[in-house]
Amino acid sequence: MARAFSSEVASGSRKENASKQEAGASFRFNRNGKGSSPAKNLLRFLCASAALLLCAAALTFIVDPLQLFRPARLFAAMYSSDTRMQNAGLIRSQPFDTVFMGTSLAIHFRQSDIDQALRVRSLKLAMTGTNSHEQSFVLAAALQRHPKRVIWAMDDWIFCDGAEIDDDIYLPADLYRRNVRGIAGYLLSGAMARESAWILARSVPPLERIVARLTTDAVFNFTISDVDDINAFRPDVEAPYDATRATAAFAHITHPSRRAGLSEGYDYQRMVRNFENDTFRLIADHPDVVFDIYFPPYSILQWVAMRDASPGALKIVYDLTAHIGRRLAELPNVRLHDFRDVNEVTHDLGNYADVIHHSPSVDLKVLSWLASGTYLVDGAAPGAALERLKAQVEAYQVEAYQVEADRIAR
């Protein structure tokens, strides 16, 4: 058997030995003398910690800020703008027959507008910056509640490679799965306990008004009292949409130092694979659900930016969306709408905050087009809209002086 011997030959060894003896004496005193006190203290400490953890978990369970266990009845329902987390609760707590999915381009839609335009009971699950893995995962969770219809704003870049769901640090996948890890993480979250305490205080009538006034998103997550307001613009907020912003954004993304960003993550084979695995398979697995899929109306500047600064990525987008069109045409439960060539919107730069994000007035137009089926892709000629878009992109001339002015201004 290997045996270490007391190893120091330097002066430190004597000190170490001395401290050994002192420490040893102290240990013996503990065990032979009043040895029970430290053990009792330890037990009390562990019990107190456990009791506090249980109290916090109980508070979260009772108030249930995410409405993961039950819809809010005893306490005021509050919502968070962190949609990746909030959607796990919305899917469980809200009544709906239609799901609305997308990225930041779809995040400002109001559920009440969707309901009115399409005569449905909708649930908006759009999430900023999501990829196809995340969207499919959340949609799959929502489809377990058997909606009749899915409306899906499909951006091409969602098919760029992203982290797999279990490696995705932004999406709390276990909350959607409602497994032990997800539930334990929810109940043992100090942030949730804090939000619960705040919601509890807000539900006490004498405190309601003052707590509501003190509720700030600098400290709290659940600050929205109406589900319809989640990420929707407030009427009193000035809309940030005008042509100057759009051209400034164009100048920004086409600047030589940044133009590489336009093609970042664009790989045709990978994007097709992600479409097949995440989107096509999900739709094919739910033949009883109608999928209204639409390509959003980006401003023409987005396409022109790619044309001028990243033609390779533009070709990938053309080819990918052509593939998507062909594949979706094979599925009887899909209606594909292509709004990319609606030039009365896409060429009016006053509709945009940058080169892609459109205004709430365009949201309403999108809903009306979905209702009327004006831009429904014809199964007999699935590439017609794409060809029109290509012609528009080819022909568009950016007003150089304006872009230069914006570039200098920035």
């Binding site: 120091e8 170490e16 050994k20 107190a48 993480g185 043992l188 600098a218």
Partner: protein, 490 residues
Amino acid sequence: MVRLLTAVEKGLMLFNSYPFIFLFLPVVLLGYFVLCRRGDLAPVVWLALASLTFYAFSGWRFVPLLAASIAFNYTVGYLLIEKKMRSEWRLAALTIGVGGDLLLLGIFKYAGFFAANLDALFSTAIAVNIVLPVGISFYTFTQIAFLVDAYRGHVARYALPHYALFVTYFPHLIAGPILHHKDMIPQFERADSKRADPHLILCGLIVFGIGLFKKTGLADGIQPLVSLAFGQAAPSFDQAWIGALAYTFQLYFDFSGYSDMAIGMSLMFGIFLPLNFNSPYKSASIIEFWRRWHMTLSAFLRDYLYIPLGGNRHGRVLRYVNLMITMLLGGLWHGAAWTFVAWGALHGAYLCINHAWSHFAPKPGLRLAPLARLAGFILTFAAVVVAWVFFRADSIAQALSILATMADPGHIVLGHSEITKAALIAIYAVAAWCLPNTQQIMRYDHTNRTVGEHFRDVQMRPWFLCASAAVLAFGILGIQQHSEFIYFRF
């Protein structure tokens, strides 16, 4: 195109995670004390294996590298300690040992940096893509110290299991404290540390809880504010200061929280780790700051770099040169980037100025001493914040841009959001400047191996028990899905 990838593996087991706190640590603790009844060696082997398992979560492919590093250094150490060699052969063995360690560090940590700079200068287009093994800087430094001491004749032979445990000991393996063999191996040998002591377990839990709260409650809480200065958008004067101060406090609570957790969990095993922090932001000079910040690294650089370089033994000028070299290399130790070199250079310059001031400036009178200390405190803190901007920035250009904004009060936003965030910063400042630190609360004495003597053998005061239990509970409640310690990447 040159790409330097220094990411850690995604499976890293964090101290601030449920699997570590509720599964790994209790199982290892239980196994350790059960095996302690079966002799002296079994618990040491158990702890070493547990440490390797812990390390394997950060990337199993680096376990052979760690094992090879241990075997290499142990062999060289054995030659230096056991074999009666002529002095030139001893020097050759030391050179091979230290050179091998530095070569390993150079390949895994600096090859990409070197290649990128060559590419920038000569357009070589050489691609270097190396993943940085977690903890390599820490375990390499501990072993260099061992070899140097073995060469100096300050070490007798250690058994391999004890040596392996000294290097791999999981509380320190990933991000320190940088341990010294003289301090640790005798503790692993000691029979008393192999008996479960409820007092030490309790004290360890409290220290661990304080560290966990510092990380999950304080450091993670202020992290979003950092992007005000270091994010994509150009900051205003107030936003730049809020972001820089937020990073200043985030780094302190993150790293000192990690160190507290390491000390706390080690206490549960009856092992006393050295202190790494002693309220550094209370310092009134840069010299004092470096006696309080990352103390084990400072001690290492002093004993194994600054003093061998000549220290202060060859006149004032050479002392300053040695200080600059030490701090430049200390900066580079943190990461292969010019921002770290700039950070080290800045601190080297600070130290030179501080030493020169101490030598040439008149000493303040008794009445002026408090005022001088206050001025020193403000100046030191401001200098440290400025240096942290280089430490955190992605590039020298970004650091200079942020510093320029911090020096230009012409553009101030100071909206509701900025005021709220400034108030939050003030709370952190009060915590860092006014509250006692962990070792003061717990009366942790590393030298004499004592802790919490004030409540040993007496019933703990209920308020203290409840408060410390609450700190642990809040620390656990603050655990987020995935929040790495900043120093993991060094």
